[in-house]
Homo-oligomer: 389 residues x 2
C-alpha cells in the first residue's frame, strides 16, 4: 500500500528501557502484606523487572534476623539479593529506590511518608484504603504534579482487580450503581459461622489466625473498612468526593447464628454488603454498609471465605461482575505487584488526578431493619440494591 510510506511519520522512540534496568522497590512495613510482597520480589521465583532494594519496619532487624535463622534451618534464603533493612524512613527517602510500597497501615506516619516519597520523585503503591479514602485526591494531585504515580489496587478488593475495572475497563460507561462485598475478614467470619455454627467472636479469631483480619477487628465488623473502600469506588466510578464518615454503616457485631439460620430459611445468606448508587440528575448519592440477606445463589451469596465480589452497573453495558480473593498476604501482593509492573513498564506515564465533585445529597438506608433483606421486594433506597442482587 503505497499510501503508507507517504504518510509515514515515526513516533518518538521511547528513550527509557525499563527492561534493561529493573525498577527498584522499597517496602514500608514487613507485616502480612509487606512480607508477602517481599517474598514474591526476592523469593525463589523473582520478577525480572522488579528489584527489592529496601525493607523498612519498626522491628526491621529482629525480622531480618528471624528470616536469617529460617534460612539456616531450611538451607535456602527466603529473601535473596542485596536488601537494605532499616527502621528509618529517611534511609528510604535518600535511597535510589524508584517506587515505595506503603504497607504499614494507619493514617500517620503513612500519609506523611507517601507525600514525602512523591516529593522525592518516587512513585508509590499503597494498600492503605483509609489514606486513599481520606487523602487520595490531594495525594493523586501531588503525584500528577511530580510526574509520578500513586497506585492503590491493593487498597480495595485484594486480588480482585476492581480499581482497574472501574477506573479503566468501565471508564467508557456511565456507572450508576456499585454493590459489593469489600471486607474479606467479615466474609470469612460469616462463612465460618455458616459452616461450623460458631459465634462471630470465634470466627474472627480464626480469621485473624489466617492473616485475614486487621489489627482492630471493629474496623472490619463495624464497616469502617468497607466504608473507606466504598468511598474510593464512589470517587473512581461516580467522580464523587465522599467523606467516609458520611456513609451510613451498621455493624455486624451482633450477628447471631440464629440470624444465619433465618436467612437460610428465606433462601438467602447474610453478608456484609457495601452499596452505592448515584443519581446524576439530582446529584444524589445513596450509600451504606450493612449486614444484608442476599440470595444464596447470587454472586454475593456464593462468595465464601475471604472472597470479595462486586456488581457494577452502567447505563450502557448493564451489569459487570468481578470476584476473587479479597484478603490475605498473597492476594494483596498480586494486586501490589500488578501496580508495580504498571509503574515499571512506563515510569514517565502521566496519571491525571481525578476531577471530583461533591454530591448534593447523601442518604443511607431508609429502613430500620437490623439486617437488610435484599431477597424481598423493597421500597425506597433498598429497592435499587435488591434489584441489582
Amino acid at each position: 500500500m503505497s499510501v503508507v510510506d507517504s504518510f509515514h511519520t515515526s513516533g518518538s522512540s521511547p528513550s527509557f528501557a525499563p527492561q534493561d534496568q529493573p525498577c527498584r522497590v522499597a517496602i514500608l512495613g514487613f507485616g502480612t502484606v509487606g512480607s508477602a510482597i517481599a517474598t514474591r520480589l526476592a523469593g525463589s521465583d523473582p520478577i525480572p523487572s522488579l528489584q527489592l532494594t529496601h525493607v523498612l519496619d519498626r522491628r526491621a532487624f529482629a525480622k531480618r534476623d528471624a528470616l536469617a535463622d529460617r534460612q539456616t534451618a531450611a538451607s535456602r534464603s527466603p529473601l535473596r539479593g542485596n536488601i537494605v533493612w532499616t527502621t528509618r524512613f529517611e534511609d528510604v527517602l535518600a535511597s535510589d529506590a524508584d517506587v515505595v510500597v506503603e504497607a504499614i497501615g494507619g493514617i500517620e506516619p503513612a500519609t506523611e511518608w507517601i507525600r514525602a516519597a512523591l516529593l522525592a520523585g518516587k512513585s508509590v503503591v499503597t494498600a492503605n484504603k483509609q489514606i486513599v479514602a481520606h487523602h487520595g485526591p490531594s495525594l493523586l494531585a501531588l503525584a500528577e504534579r511530580q510526574g509520578r504515580q500513586l497506585r492503590f489496587e491493593p487498597a480495595v478488593g485484594g486480588a480482585m482487580p476492581i480499581v482497574r475495572a472501574i477506573s479503566e475497563g468501565l471508564a467508557g460507561d456511565r456507572l450508576t450503581r456499585i454493590v459489593a462485598i469489600l471486607n474479606g475478614t467479615c466474609n470469612a467470619a460469616i462463612s465460618s459461622m455458616e459452616t461450623t455454627g460458631c459465634t462471630l467472636a470465634q470466627a474472627l479469631a480464626e480469621a485473624r489466625e489466617r492473616g485475614w483480619a486487621e489489627a482492630d477487628p471493629s474496623v472490619d465488623v463495624d464497616g469502617l473498612d468497607a466504608r473507606a473502600k466504598l468511598a474510593i469506588l464512589c470517587a473512581l466510578g461516580f467522580r464523587l468526593r465522599v467523606d467516609p464518615p458520611r456513609i451510613q454503616t451498621r455493624s455486624i457485631a451482633d450477628l447471631q447464628p440464629a440470624d444465619l439460620d433465618e436467612a437460610r430459611r428465606r433462601g438467602g445468606a447474610v453478608r456484609q454488603i457495601a452499596c452505592a448508587a448515584f443519581d446524576y440528575g439530582r446529584r444524589s448519592l445513596t450509600a451504606w454498609v450493612a449486614p444484608a440477606i442476599v440470595p444464596r445463589d447470587s454472586i454475593f451469596g456464593r462468595a465464601s471465605g475471604s472472597q470479595n465480589a462486586a456488581l457494577v452497573t452502567g447505563e450502557h453495558a448493564g451489569e459487570v461482575g468481578v470476584f476473587g480473593a479479597g484478603a490475605g498476604g498473597p492476594a494483596t501482593a498480586v494486586a501490589a505487584i500488578g501496580d508495580l509492573l504498571t509503574i515499571a513498564r512506563d515510569r514517565a506515564a502521566i496519571v491525571r488526578a481525578p476531577d471530583l465533585s461533591s454530591p448534593a445529597l447523601i442518604t443511607g438506608l431508609d429502613r430500620r431493619d437490623r439486617i437488610v433483606d435484599l431477597t424481598q421486594p423493597q421500597e425506597g433506597a433498598a429497592r435499587v440494591f435488591a434489584e441489582a442482587v
Copy 2:
C-alpha cells in the same frame, strides 16, 4: 517534616494536556459496533476528552443521509459536530485524527489499515479478535516502535474488562488456567433454546436480529471466534504465541433441545466453553473450545443471554472471576471508549509489545464426548477444567 524539602526533586511536568484539546477519533466501519461508538462520542451526552472527526464506511454517504433523514424526523441529530464522512481510507490517513477505531471486521483490508494508521503516527483501537489473534504481536511491536498504542479491549468479552484484568490487574500473579464463555452469540442462542425450547437455527436468527451475531454464524457456532479470543488470552495470560488453528474446536452446530434437557437432568447447563491451561514446567498448553455441561449454579451456568464470563486461576491469588455483557453495540462501545480514554489520558504512554514464546506442546480434549461433561469427575485434560468450574 523537614526531610521532605531537602529531598525535593520535582518530576518532569507533563507538557501535553489532553484535557485542553480533545483526542480526535476516526471510526472505520459504521456497522453495529462502529455506529454504537459514534453515537456515544457524538450523541446527546458526549465525552469531553474525545471528539469524533471521521467516519469511514463503504456506504458512508447512504448511512450519513439515512441519519440525516432520521434527524429531520426526530428533530434532533443523532450525531452532532463536524464529522467527515468518507469511503476512502486515504482521507483518514491524511487527516489529523489522533486515534483510529477499527470496526470493519475481517482480516483485509483491516490489518493493512491498522498497520498504515500506526505508521502514520496514529494510535489504534480494534474490536477485531481475528487480527489481534493472528497479527497482534507484529502490530504491537510496530505500535511500540512508533511510540503509539494498539489497544483491543473490545476484541474480547464485550464490556467484560478481561483484557485489562489479565494483562494488568492479574499481571502480578502467575496464571495457570483460563476457563471462559467468550462468544455472546452462542450463549444467547443456547439461552434462547433453554427458555423457549426452540432449535439452534431459530435461536441464531433471533440473536442476529438483536445485533449479537457475526455476519457468518459458523464463525461463532464452530468456535472460530472463541478460539481467536482464547489465543489472545493465552498471549496475555501465559505469554504464549498460539496460532488459533492449533486450538481444538468442537462445533455446537448439532446441539439439540434434547441435549439441554439431558444437561438439566444432570443439574447442569450446556455452554460453549473455551479453556486453556498452561504447565510452565513442561511448557505444555492444553486448550480447546467445545460445548460443555457446566454446573447450573456456576459462573458459567448462570451466564445467560449474550453474557460472557471468565474464571482465571493464578498460583498466588487463586481464582478471579469476571462476567458481563459480551456482545452487542453498546457493550462493545463501552470497551472501545475505555481504550480511547486510556489513550487520550496519556498519548505518549509507552506500551511494550509482549515478549511471547511458543509452547513446547499443545494438546486438546482427550475425551471424545460430543458434549464435555464438566459436572462429572474427569480423567486427563478435562479434569483440570472440571475442577475450575
